[in-house]
Amino acid sequence: MKRIATIILNRNLPEVTVQLYAHLSKFDGDLTDIYIVEAGSDAHKLSKYATWHANTPKIMQDGLRYGRGMNFGQIQILEGGKFEQYDAFFAHERH
């Protein structure tokens, strides 16, 4: 069981997000779970590893900034029952 959750916040930058995911996965994949929040990304610009797509009309229009984007990711993890498993959250922003 991994004790760190890495959350990548992305909007419409699938390539760099995939590169970041691949890098983290290769060098730290044994330590961390990696989640990608697509905050208002267009459907054709989702990264291939997207975990969640925040796509309410408001978010599609304005996106989510760092704080609320990370909250979104953590809430999904909480609702998925995995929040307790982690000792730390590592946040990345891509947009």
């Binding site: 309410t56 408001k58 900034r65 760092y66 704080g67 609320r68 909250n71 979104f72 953590q74 809430i75 909480l78 929040f83 307790e84």
Partner: protein
């Protein structure tokens, strides 16, 4: 459950709930005792300058950290009548965040860290107030965005710790005038939309600007003004409409800076249907006045003078001064007194004073607490919280 029990109390009593600032240990004790004696729920509204987590070095009230303060209150509050509340949580609301001139993101992270400690310590009411920005004047949409960031963060933390919390939202600092109805409607609609979309309960309280503003030792806002303020609809006309808007959204109306209002003005609060009101510095000043008074009337003027000097030298009175002030040095000292109660030098002074007064059969701390109770009871009476005093 907290929201429902407050609402049911309000419906039964047609009263205004009181929020008391924990200005000192005596103020905290007096509030707990009155809440328990009269079986009335009281919000203990701690600002970040008064009480904050260890990470921020605690606060000026008894140097308590959030956790120590919460433990002290819950241990003493036998009937569970006190609601621990964070007043004005948010970025740059701590002196440390201001002094270090933090940027937005770091200030938000810092505010979240403080809220996390509040929730872990058992605070039940969180006031989300990102209206302060030391780098500029954010517009309403920017402020709302920060509200939502802090709101869903706190909600998530509470869910994780399985703690029940309710929210108070305010988007403006004390201005001494009133909001416009359009502004209030816009804010409420945005908050409601956010809560529905994110499946988070809507706030229990919304802070409405009703024309109150505390400066020096009086209320200089338009609420209690005998004359109309230019270009402003009087509070007694404006407020019912504001309250009606809040009621329509199922949100309770809260007002801040109610200190020093006349009995007549306070009695309007339950009549108008204002659900809750905060009072803080008045009680700090009441205790300082009581302290100086008992010393001066019992031949201990030299101790009173030293206390006044320490308070004056702290400069904590500065932010409360009007531009065209006529306040004396003594007034300034009384305004700043509660900020220095917990300094080592003031503690020593009070020990010396208590020893001298004990020789005359007087209990200093008991006397101060009783004086504070009289100040707090004025609000109990005028807000219809009790009918027996």
């Amino acid at each position: 459950m907290i929201h429902q029990s407050l609402q049911s109390f309000l419906q039964k009593r047609h009263c205004t709930l009181l929020g008391v600032g924990p200005m000192s240990v005596n103020c905290v004790d007096a509030t707990i005792e009155l809440a328990n004696e009269h079986e009335v729920p009281i919000l203990m509204i701690a600002s970040r300058r008064q009480i904050d987590s260890e990470e921020f070095g605690g606060g000026y009230v008894n140097n308590w950290s959030t956790q120590e303060f919460a433990r002290y209150v819950t241990d003493k509050d036998k009937k569970g009548k006190i609601l621990l509340a964070r007043d004005h949580g948010g970025p740059w609301q701590s002196i440390k965040e201001k002094d270090e001139k933090l940027g937005l993101r770091r200030a938000m992270e810092s505010a979240k860290s403080s809220y996390r400690a509040d929730i872990a310590a058992g605070f039940q009411v969180l006031h989300i107030d990102p209206s302060v920005d030391i780098h500029g004047q954010p517009d309403i949409d920017e402020v709302l965005d920060r509200v939502f960031d802090l709101y869903d963060f706190c909600w998530m933390q509470a869910q994780q710790l399985r703690q029940e919390i309710i929210f108070e939202v305010g988007t403006e600092e004390q201005s001494g005038s009133t909001n416009s109805q359009e502004e209030l409607g816009y804010t409420l609609n945005a908050i409601k939309e956010f809560c529905v979309q994110n499946k988070i309960p809507q706030p229990t309280f919304l802070v409405v600007q009703c024309g109150t503003r505390v400066m020096e030792m009086r209320n200089v806002g338009s609420f209690d003004s005998p004359i109309r303020v230019a270009d402003e609809i009087p509070a007694k006309i404006q407020l019912p409409k504001m309250i009606e808007i809040c009621n329509r959204h199922g949100i309770l109306t809260k007002v801040h800076n109610t200190d020093y209002l006349s009995d007549d003005a306070l009695q309007w609060h339950p009549r108008l249907g204002i659900h809750a009101a905060n009072v803080a510095p008045e009680f700090g000043v009441a205790e300082s006045k009581a302290l100086v008074n008992i010393l001066e009337t019992n031949g201990l003027r030299h101790i009173a003078d030293r206390f006044l000097e320490i308070a004056y030298d702290s400069n904590k009175w500065d932010k409360w001064m009007l531009d065209n002030t006529t306040a004396t040095d003594r007034d300034r000292s009384l305004i700043a007194g509660h900020y220095v109660f917990s300094t080592p030098v003031c503690k020593e002074l009070k020990i010396e004073a208590a020893r001298e007064l004990a020789k005359k059969g007087l209990d200093l701390e008991m006397h101060l607490k009783e004086q504070l109770k009289q100040s707090i009871l004025r609000y109990f009476r005028n807000f219809r919280l009790t009918r027996t005093v």
